[in-house]
Amino acid sequence: MPAIAGPSSSPQKHVVGSRSESIGGVRSAEVNTSRKRKLRSDSAAEVSATVVLPVNSISTPMKWKSPRRCAVSIPKTSDEEIKEDSNEKLENPVISVCLEVKSKWNPKDDEQMKAVKEALHVSKAPSTVVCREDEQRRVFEFVKGCMEQKKAGSLYICGCPGTGKSLSMEKVRLQAEEWAKQAGLHCPETVSVNCTSLTKSTDIFSKILGNYESGKKANGSFSPLQQLQRLFSQKQQQSRSKMMLIIADEMDYLITRDRGVLHELFMLTTLPFSRCILIGVANAIDLADRFLPKLKSLNCKPLVVTFRAYSKDQILRILQERLVALPFVAFQSNALEICARKVSAASGDMRKALCVCRSALEILEIEVRGSIDQEPKGPVPECQVVKMDHMIAALSKTFKSPIVDTIQSLPQHQQIIVCSAAKAFRGSKKDRTIAELNKLYLEICKSSMITPAGITEFSNMCTVLNDQGILKLSHARDDKLKRVSLRVDEADITFALKEIRFFRNCLL
C-alpha cells in the first residue's frame, strides 16, 4: 500500500517513523505492518460502529494535502498523515478507522477513550513483558534446572517498587507450567504468598503445608515448620515427586528480630529430600547478605537477580508497546518521551509513568468534553491527541509538592509565623518554645505596624500549621512550653513568599 509504505520510508515525517528513530529501523516496519493489519482486521467492526463517518468524510477532502507537502514539524504530521492515509483510500472501509482516529476525542466516542485508558491502566498486564526478558530468562533457567534435576533451590529477586518483579514472576510461573507439560514432567504446584497478608510470620509455613498436604489434616502435636522439615527429611515415594514452586512476595515482612522465620524458610531448600523451589521477592538489595549470613556458611546462598529501575528508553518502549495495540494514535511521541525522561530521572517506577499518562489523558478529556456537568470552555481544537503541554501539566501535577501553593495562600498572620520560624531556625538551633517564637513574631509585626494576634490566637495558629505539616509541635503541659520546629525547607518558604516584598525583606 503506497500510502503507508511511503511514510515509513521517510522517518522524519510520520509519527510511527519517529518511533523508529528510538527503536530501530526494523521495528518501525513491524509496527507499521502490525498497525496496518490491525486497521484491516478492525475495520469491519469499526464500520458498524462509526455513525459519524459521513460527516467527516465530507470535511476531509478540503484539508487534504499531498504527501510531499508534509515535511513539516512533527506535531502536525500525525494528523496530516492520517488524513492523507484516509484520503488515499476513499473507497476502502479502512478509512472509517482512520477517520475515527480524528473523531476519537469527540464526546460521542466513549469506547475509544475507554480503550486507551484501559491500555494504560496499571492493573492490565500486557501480554508480553518487554524489557525484562533477560531477568525472566535467568529465573526461568534456574527453575528449569531445578525441575530437570529434581533438586531444590532458592532464588532472591530484588528491585525498587514498580520494576516489574511480580509481573515477571507470574510469567515465569506460566512458562514453567507450559514447559513442564511439554517436557512431560509433572506440573509444579505453586504457592504464591504475599507476606503482608500474614498475621504472624510463621503462618507462611502453614500455608505451604496446606498446599502440600492437601487432604491430610495438620498433625496437632507438631508445628507446621516441624512437619515440613520432617517431610523433607524423609524419602518420598516416586508418585509424590511433584516440585513445589513457592513465591514469597514482599518477603521483608517476614523479618523478625531473630531472623528465625526467614532462615528456616531458606533452610527448607537445603534439606536432603526437599522439593521446593523458593523465590523470594523484596526491595532490599542486600537482604540475603544482611539477614541470612548463616546460609553463606552452609554454602546455600540464594541466587540473586536484581531488577534495576527502568531507564528512559525502557519506559518509552513499554509505553509504546502498550499503545501499539490500539488502532489509533493517542499520544504524540515527544509527549511520551518527556514522560519517560522525567519518570526515569525521578525513580524509574513504571506505575508512575502509567499514572502520569493517564493523568494527561484526563486533562485532554476535560479540555475536549468539558467536565461532567459543564460544556467545554472555549473552542474545541481540531487535532486532538495528547500533546506536550498536556503531558507537562500532568507531570507538574504529579511531581509538584503542594507546600508552595499552600504557603502562598495562608492568611497573613500565619505567613508571618512561618516567616519568623524560618528566621528562627536558620542557625544551629533546631527547635524553640512557642514563647520564643512569639517574641520573634511580635518583633516582625511591630516592624510592619501590623497588630499582632494575642498569645491564645498565636498558639491556635501554630496548631493549625502543625496539622498541615509545616511546623512540628511537641507535647507539653503548658501551652507556652511546647517546642516548635520547622518541617519545611527554608528554601521553599523563601520561594513561596518571594512575591511579597515585606517577607522578602524579612527573610534577608
Binding site: 526491595n283 484526563e362 494576634a453 493549625v464 496539622d467
Partner: protein, 417 residues
C-alpha cells in the same frame, strides 16, 4: 407559644442553612475547575469505565474536604443508584489494621445484607474483603473507600493501605480509594511500596478568594422572596445585607478575621455567631452584631483579666513593666514596691497603699495568672523575695488599660514614657 415572628423564622432558616454543608459548598463548587467538578469527573469516569483510581484530598482543617466529597458521593449515588457502595474509615478510630479490616467487613456486610460475625479473625476478614471485591468487580459495582485522617493510617506497617492499594492493582476489583488529610506531605509518609501503588492525584483545597466569600455571604443570608415571609420584611432584610457588604467597616472586620484564619468553617462560625446576636425586635442584622461576633471569636483572656483588675493592681503591673523596660529582667515584690514608691514620690499620686495591701494585690494577680513565679526553685523563700515575671505582653497591657473602666490617665503616661 403562638406563631413565630418573621425575625425568628428568618433566624431559624439562616441557622439551618449554615449548618448544612451541602448548601454552603454548592455555590463554592459551581465553577468548572473547582475541586468538586474535578473530583466528580474522576470518580464518575472510574465508575463508568470500571478502572481503579486513588486520590488524596489535602487542605487545612475546615476547608470543606469532607463536605465536597460528600456532595460528590451524594450526586453519584443518585446518578448510579445500584453501582456504587461507600465504605468509610477514620484514621483516628481504625488505625489499627485488625480494627480496620473488621470495620470494612462489617460495612460490606451491612451494605449487602449479609450477617457479620464478631468472632471472625483477621484472616477471615481479609479473605472476605478480597472475595467481596472480586464479586463486586464482576457485578460492575464500584466500592468507594473513604479514608478520613489518612495520615493516621500511615503509621506502623501500613498494612491496610498496602492491601487496599494492592487490591486495586488487580483487574478483578473495581474500587476507588479517596484519602482525606490535613497534612500536606501525607503521601511522603507512605512507605515506598505503598507510595508506588498510589496514583499521585492530589486535590489541594485552598481557601476561597474574597469575591467568592462575598458571594457566599450574600447567598447564605439572603432570604427567599416566597416561603411565607412578609414581602416588605424580605426586601428590607436583603437590602440591609447588601449595604453591609459595601460598608468599609464591615470589610475591615472581615479582613481582621481572614488575617488570622481564612478557612470556610471559621467564616461560617463567625456568621453563625453574628446571626445569633440578631436583634429580634427589628429583625435585621446590623454591623454591631458582626463586631460582637468578631470579638467573641478572637478572645484574648489575658486582656479581659487586665480589664478586671483593680487600680492598685494596675499600678503594680505598670511598675513591673517599667522595671522590664529598664533592663531589669528579674525582679521580685520588694523591687516592685521600690518602683511604686518612686512613682508616688515623683508624681504624687493619690493611690498609695501599705505594703500588706499591695502584697494581697500581688497574690490576686498571681491567681489570675497575669504574673507568675519566674522559676520553680526558690520554694523555701517567702513570696515577697521570689522572682516574678509578667505573663502578658506590653501591648496586651496597654490595650487592657485603655479599655479599663477607670484607669487613671497617669498610668498610661507612665507606661508610655
Amino acid at each position: 407559644m403562638g406563631k413565630e415572628t418573621p425575625a425568628e423564622k428568618s433566624l431559624n432558616l439562616i441557622r439551618g442553612r449554615l449548618c448544612d454543608p451541602s448548601y454552603v459548598f454548592r455555590p463554592l463548587s459551581a465553577s468548572s475547575d473547582s475541586n468538586y467538578s474535578k473530583l466528580k469527573f474522576i470518580v464518575s469516569t472510574s465508575i463508568t469505565e470500571g478502572c481503579n483510581n486513588s486520590m488524596l484530598l489535602l487542605g487545612p482543617r475546615g476547608s470543606g474536604k469532607a463536605a465536597v466529597l460528600d456532595l460528590v458521593v451524594g450526586d453519584l449515588l443518585e446518578q448510579f443508584p445500584d453501582s456504587v457502595s461507600v465504605i468509610r474509615l477514620n484514621g483516628l478510630l481504625h488505625s489499627d489494621d485488625n480494627c480496620a479490616f473488621k470495620e470494612i467487613a462489617k460495612q460490606l456486610c451491612m451494605e449487602h445484607h449479609l450477617l457479620f460475625s464478631k468472632m471472625a479473625s483477621f484472616d477471615d476478614n481479609s479473605q472476605f474483603i478480597i472475595a467481596m471485591l472480586r464479586a463486586c468487580g464482576l457485578a460492575h459495582k464500584t466500592i468507594i473507600f473513604v479514608l478520613d485522617e489518612f495520615d493516621m493510617f500511615a503509621q506502623g506497617k501500613q498494612r491496610l493501605l498496602y492491601s487496599l492499594l494492592d487490591a486495586m492493582q488487580s483487574v478483578t476489583s473495581q474500587a476507588v480509594v479517596v484519602g482525606i488529610s490535613s497534612r500536606l506531605d501525607a503521601d511522603q509518609l507512605l512507605e515506598k511500596r505503598v507510595r508506588s501503588r498510589f496514583s499521585h492525584r492530589k486535590f489541594l483545597f485552598l481557601p476561597p478568594s474574597r469575591e467568592e466569600l462575598d458571594g457566599l455571604f450574600v447567598h447564605l443570608l439572603s432570604l427567599p422572596a416566597d416561603s411565607g415571609f412578609p414581602s416588605g420584611y424580605v426586601s428590607r432584610f436583603n437590602d440591609k445585607i447588601k449595604n453591609l457588604t459595601s460598608d468599609t467597616r464591615f470589610k475591615d472586620i472581615l479582613k481582621t478575621l481572614f488575617n488570622a484564619n481564612s478557612t470556610v468553617n471559621s467564616f461560617l462560625k463567625f456568621i453563625f455567631c453574628a446571626v445569633s446576636l440578631m436583634n429580634l425586635e427589628s429583625g435585621l442584622l446590623s454591623l454591631e452584631n458582626f463586631k460582637a461576633a468578631l470579638s467573641s471569636m478572637q478572645r484574648q483572656p489575658k486582656l479581659e483579666a487586665v480589664r478586671d483588675c483593680s487600680v492598685l493592681e494596675l499600678y503594680l503591673l505598670v511598675c513591673m513593666r517599667r522595671l522590664e523596660v529598664k533592663e531589669q529582667s528579674s525582679y521580685n515584690f520588694i523591687s516592685v514596691m521600690k518602683e511604686y514608691k518612686a512613682i508616688h514620690d515623683s508624681f504624687h499620686t493619690s493611690d498609695y497603699y501599705a505594703q500588706n495591701v499591695c502584697l494581697r494585690a500581688f497574690e490576686h494577680l498571681r491567681e489570675r495568672q497575669v504574673i507568675c513565679y519566674a522559676e520553680n526553685r526558690g520554694q523555701s523563700q517567702t513570696g515577697e523575695y521570689r522572682l516574678q515575671k509578667l505573663l502578658i505582653s506590653a501591648s496586651e497591657l496597654h490595650q487592657g488599660m485603655r479599655s479599663h473602666a477607670c484607669c487613671p490617665a497617669i498610668l498610661l503616661k507612665l507606661l508610655d514614657h
